[in-house]
Amino acid sequence: MRPFTYTRAKDATSAINQLAKNPNAKFLAGGTNLLDLMKEDVERPNELVDISELGLSEIKAITNGPQIGGVSIGGLGKNTDAANHSLIRQNYPLLTQAILAGASGQIRNMATNGGNLLQRTRCPYFYEVAMPCNKRQPNRNDGPSGCSALEGINRMHAIFGWTEKCVAVYPSDMAVALAALDAVVNVRNASGQERTISFTDFHRLPGDKPEQDTNLAHGELITAIELPKNNFAATSYYLKVRDRASYAFALVSVAAALEVNGSKIVKARIAMGGVAHKPWRALKAEKILVGKEATAANFKLAADAEMADAKPLEHNRFKVELGNRSIVLALQMALNGGKA
């Protein structure tokens, strides 16, 4: 690991100011992804500002403002605590399931909610510094660039929204549920200004800047994630399909939430993981479902419409059919309150 200076931040303001002064500084929270990437020499900060003891971990009901009736989750709270808080388990069980589908007990005890959103791709070519990668090394002058996965082993890679610059997928499960739940992310910058980013705008598709995973600016700190009130609690499900039964990244995952009146679908929210550079909102599928009967045939129509746009790579054609079936199954399980 390359040398870096380490400071324990005393409060959020001084942490943000310190980071803003140095473009090569990074916040350290849970460290589960950052330290790993530093050991691999993928991340090379020369300064870490430890924000793990700043508080900002509260989970509470929102009692005023535009998100009234919703729940706010502190950016520096641990994944374990978010998953198990009674406000989340009762009102947003989809989020609980998604968090618990990711990583291991140990990692969820360390990882923070804000940090989870800032995970970097697990594309093996991004991790291997000897291979060209536009995400890791966007500037040709610094070394080889290009996308090794485009024509390499791309079984785990994207089928939606990729470009020739990057075919990596975004790894978080938690974020897939947050995308389906229309969450917003509150961030604070060095001037003390706060802004709110809607979840669908938080992560980016690669375009021609794959090095930029999110629309967060350097020095902005995630203070909280807010979940709007909804009626999805009884009819939602997070389905994760992976190579092992546990402790593996998704091949495909689906966060499905329905609001049903009688047998008619009033609202539908579907987001997919493992298929794109960001949590993929299946907007076409959602649109088809609204106003229709909640039947397997309509679920299939919705899945077909969404997956028709998929552009698989050489080794991940299976993800198209897998994604289709996963949407249908996740919707069925959501409708049945989690039972198949």
């Binding site: 350290l28 460290g31 388990r89 140990q106 402790y247």
Partner: protein, 261 residues
């Protein structure tokens, strides 16, 4: 640099053992404690049967934590030093660490606590699992510098004197290991899991996810899911699950293995 960590004291019997078997190393051992090289040499002699007469003393030595020679380490090798103070197995430790030093390397290389193992060093195997403030975490992905003021418990801190922690005893009874490399991490992870279940933490396979959190009864499926961050390449999983189920249920569970006749 001594870091207030004394090399473990030898008993008179142990001194005599080294005097008899490894006289050329005695001075060094008395000066800096038993290091890995001494330990391995003793192991080799033990393997050759030389130790038969002193087996009781040798056994005692083999089960003792090795005091790593503090001379192996010099302050000059520290870059961006950070002063940190935290409790390890009940004792406060104060030391200066390189900002890059992980908790795992600090435990193993600076504090002589080699029970926590370095498997993958990338958070994928769980061999380095320790308890920090009562929760299981990966010491290979924790910076020692971040542990200021925290309480760390390692496999060495679980037993009360000669009385094994119930989870250690259950792993022995159920033969929850072969090579033993993953075992300290497995046991620390399992100990923390008992509290998680008591506190009503859910897992991905928990059905009543929407219910108010309350104590959870762990099925084999639940134990497997919740222990998925601890890999065992020998494949002792059925025995590990049996050991955890026994401690969790508080009722004896029949061993799944038999000694050959």
């Amino acid at each position: 640099m001594n870091d207030e960590n004394e090399a473990s004291q030898l008993t008179e019997d142990e001194k005599k053992l080294f005097e008899d078997l490894m006289p050329e190393d005695l001075d060094e051992i008395l000066d800096t404690g038993v290091n890995r090289r001494h330990f391995l040499k003793l192991m080799t002699l033990a393997g050759g049967g030389v130790l038969a007469a002193q087996s009781a003393v040798a056994e005692q030595l083999f089960t003792k934590p090795i005091g790593l020679a503090p001379t192996d380490f010099s302050v000059a090798s520290i870059e961006n030093g950070v002063n940190v103070s935290f409790k390890v197995n009940g004792t406060t430790r104060k030391l200066m660490v390189d900002s890059r030093m992980t908790l795992l390397d600090t435990l193993r290389e600076r504090l002589g606590l080699t029970g926590s193992k370095k498997g993958c060093d990338h958070g994928q195997c769980g061999a380095c699992t320790v308890l920090v403030d009562g929760r299981r975490v990966l010491s290979c992905l924790s910076l020692a510098a971040s542990c200021e003021g925290k309480t760390v418990q390692t496999i060495e801190g679980l037993a009360q004197g000669n009385n094994l922690h119930p989870m250690q005893a259950a792993f022995l009874k159920h033969d929850g290991f072969q090579c033993g490399f993953c075992t300290p991490g497995q046991i620390c992870s399992a100990v923390a899991l008992m509290d998680e279940a008591k506190n009503g933490h859910a897992s991905y396979v928990t059905e009543a996810i929407r219910k108010q959190p309350g104590p959870v009864q762990l099925s084999n499926e639940e134990i497997r899911e919740r222990m998925s961050g601890n890999l065992c390449r020998c494949g002792a999983y059925p025995n590990i699950v049996a050991a955890i189920r026994e401690v969790h249920s508080g009722k004896p569970i029949e061993q799944t293995f038999r000694f050959s006749a």
